[in-house]
């Protein structure tokens, strides 16, 4: 099968490895560009959330490249993500595309279908082959997580963040190329060592910023206009609370044994939010509390416009911010979000938290945030 799947951060590395090892041809959607988003906005529902629009753009561009089968995940609600595949299918069908959609849907009424579809993706391979493919894919999920964590931690520290990004991308490419678990491990440890060895700059990192929010906008740089990278170039150490490998671990592999994690999140979110609200609404509140307790300087909450669960979190976060005296900035993104406006807001936010920190300790002078220069190291401009 000629398989494609939508972009979401670095998820393509493990998924490509998995499908290729199972004997499928993988056609990756081209990197998200303005065209991707224009296609999604043109054909997608007007007030749908940004991730769906990017998905639709991805599908169209991948189908143009010759993909025949779209693999997508499903959900059981109440978040809209549960219907992404169905709505996209209706739209692409009306547009006249000839394709097949494999929806891996955990909903109860879809269980038999799920088994059938997993079998098709396994495409008659022996159990050993399938397990080997899964093992390598899992290693790549972990590799991606580790590299992302390292780069977020160090980009704001080093004197040449552009170089750090380059090392990071090279390591990712090496993970993508590695054909065995061992290769992947070597690629990661080399990458991490190299990033850690980069010389630091005085006064850096200037601030420590946490990112919480809706998973797609957190993970996919083209949806957040390279939020993390921008923060790194401005000299901020970034802590993110969501990683794709961890997400897979908690939701796919451990989903049945997930009670403890859920209870912990609930405890953290109490008394601000006392019920699961779908998506990652509860996580956003819980993680903000957690980061605040750990003494982070500020938190950025990112969500797509009209995202239902995150709007609940957005309504609640001002109280967390007040109680813990921690600056929280909400960034709502959609197809109209401009890079310049985003950078201005990030700069202002960083200035604010650096001053706040400085005012606490009187000897420390005001540290200046290095000005972000347009285009530095950002190689995936999506909205301009």
């Amino acid at each position: 099968m000629k398989i494609t799947f939508p972009a979401m951060g670095n998820i393509w590395i493990p998924l490509k490895s998995l499908f290729e090892d199972l004997g499928h041809e993988v056609i990756l959607p081209p990197p998200c560009t303005k065209r991707t988003l224009s296609l999604g906005t043109k054909y997608g529902p007007e007030s749908a959330c940004l991730p769906l629009k990017i998905n639709i753009g991805n599908y169209i561009e991948a189908l143009e490249k010759g993909a025949e089968t779209i693999v997508m995940a499903g959900g059981v609600g109440p978040c809209r993500f549960g219907f992404y595949a169905q709505v996209a299918k209706e739209i692409l069908t009306d547009l006249g595309y000839d394709f097949e959609m494999i929806v891996l849907d955990p909903a109860v009424d879809k269980r038999p279908e799920l088994v059938e579809q997993l079998r098709r993706l396994g495409s008659g391979n022996k159990a050993g082959v399938v397990l080997g493919a899964l093992r390598l894919a899992w290693e790549k999920f972990r590799a991606v997580d580790l590299l992302e964590k390292t780069i977020l931690e160090h980009r704001g520290r080093v004197s040449d963040p552009k170089k750090a990004s380059a090392v990071y991308r090279r390591a990712l490419a090496q993970v993508d190329r590695s054909a065995s678990v061992k290769d992947a491990k070597v690629a990661v440890s080399n990458g991490i060592q190299e990033i850690k060895a980069l010389p630091g700059a005085p006064g850096r990192p200037a601030a420590h910023v946490g990112i919480v929010g809706e998973i797609y906008t957190v993970l996919e740089p083209s949806a957040s206009l390279n939020l993390e990278e921008c923060l790194g170039y401005m000299g901020a150490r970034v802590t993110r609370t969501m990683f794709i490998g961890e997400w897979v671990w908690h939701h796919v592999i451990l989903s049945a044994l997930n009670g403890r994690r859920r209870r912990r999140l609930r405890r953290l979110a109490h008394p601000y939010l006392n019920h699961f609200v779908g998506g990652h609404g509860l996580e956003s509140v819980a993680h903000t509390v957690e980061l605040a307790r750990e003494g982070i300087d500020g938190v950025i909450h990112i969500l797509p416009f009209t995202c239902m669960p995150e709007i609940v979190a957005q309504s609640i976060l001002p109280r967390v911010s007040r109680d813990y005296e921690i600056p929280v900035m909400t960034v709502v993104v959609d197809e109209h979000t401009g890079e310049a406006g985003m950078i201005t807001r990030l700069e202002a936010f960083l200035e604010l938290i650096v001053r706040k920190r400085a005012s606490g300790v009187s000897e420390v002078g005001r540290e200046r945030i290095p000005r972000y220069r347009r285009g530095v190291g950002v190689d995936q401009p999506c909205h301009n």
Partner: protein, 328 residues
């Protein structure tokens, strides 16, 4: 502090009100409480809500905020704001409903809140416990609570029957609460039938929806709403969709539109709240299905900036088109 009798409980006239008020009325009055329903939506009420809510929230939720704020000055003992998670198996209402008691808890002067978690997904026992906990707040005995609950369900089914006959929601609530009465429905020999879709809290709130329902009937159009379709018909039609629609209102929209299209209505009007997550998808599906069958479809996105004049123009253009179409 008032005793059990005459406890004043406030109910915001928004969101769940249009689907469940008769139930709450039966339940609380049976337990001796006095219900105070906020005034019908108005500019003042909605504006207060807009000030209090986050920008990206949909208009109906903003209106809900406004209703709650307006109740804060009503000298209440409690305000009833259930956390409506799920009212049917394996379905949800909407994330914003699930977070409502939390997002509203910092409103100034808010009376004590009764917010039981209504989650059918958790099974009948959890639901029974939620009902019991609610009754116990008023100091009632389990038997009294059970009796009150039965009264509530009876009133709800009476209300549903009125809706099924096509009685407008406010009027149906009046009739249910006052214990019946005859209704003189205007029987018009309408040539044109329009299926009016939209959340009940949208199309039944004349201020928020700018009276679309009445505007249509006043020009002699027969309007059918999802409330006028029996539950089992909606369910059967919605199940034709490849996946279970996990939003209760979404299922109602999907089932209704498929039924309307099967019955060959002349046109479909979908009233959506701007920023509503469920509408963005069900609205899309409704438009696509109507287009495939060449049935005229009008999607009206409503928010606090929607002007009545513009809406009337669009409605008139649409209805004129239907009239011309039927004469051809």
């Amino acid at each position: 502090m008032t005793g059990r009798l005459g406890t004043r409980i406030g109910i915001p006239r928004a969101l769940g009100y249009y689907d469940f008020y008769p139930m709450w009325h039966g339940f609380f009055t049976e337990l001796g409480a006095e219900l105070v329903v906020s005034a019908p939506s108005s500019k003042e009420i909605v504006n207060e809500g807009i000030k209090a809510a986050v920008d990206g929230t949909c208009l109906p939720v903003k209106a809900f905020y406004g209703h709650v704020i307006s109740l804060c000055s009503a000298k209440l003992d409690f305000i009833f704001m259930p956390r409506l998670v799920s009212v049917a198996e394996r379905e949800f209402i909407c994330p914003k409903f699930m977070g409502i008691p939390d997002t509203l808890s910092n409103i100034e002067g808010l009376p004590k809140v009764i917010s039981p978690v209504i989650n059918i997904n958790r099974g009948p026992l959890a639901f029974a416990r939620a009902v019991m906990d609610t009754g116990r707040v008023l100091g009632a005995s389990p038997i009294a609570i059970l009796r009150a609950y039965n009264k509530g369900t009876r009133m709800l089914s009476v209300y549903r029957k009125y809706l099924l006959e096509g009685t407008p929601s406010e009027q149906a609530i009046q009739l249910t609460v006052s214990g019946g009465g005859t209704l003189n429905r205007a029987r018009h020999s309408a040539e044109i039938t329009v299926g009016l879709l939209g959340h009940s809290y949208l199309i039944h709130d004349p201020y928020v929806s700018m009276g679309i329902h009445r505007k249509l009937t006043s020009v002699g159009i027969r309007v059918i709403t999802p409330d006028m379709l029996p539950e089992e018909v909606i369910l059967r039609k919605a199940n034709e969709w490849p996946k279970k629609m996990f939003w209760t209102s979404g299922r109602k929209m999907l089932g209704s539109v498929l039924k309307f299209l099967e019955d060959k209505v002349d046109g479909i009007i979908y009233v959506a709240a701007f920023g509503c997550g469920t509408d963005s998808f069900t609205g899309e599906l409704v438009q696509r299905y109507a287009n495939r069958l060449k049935t005229p479809c009008l999607l009206l996105n409503i928010d606090e900036h929607t002007g009545e004049a513009g809406l009337v123009t669009r409605l008139e253009a649409f209805t004129d088109m239907l009239v011309w179409g039927s004469k051809r």
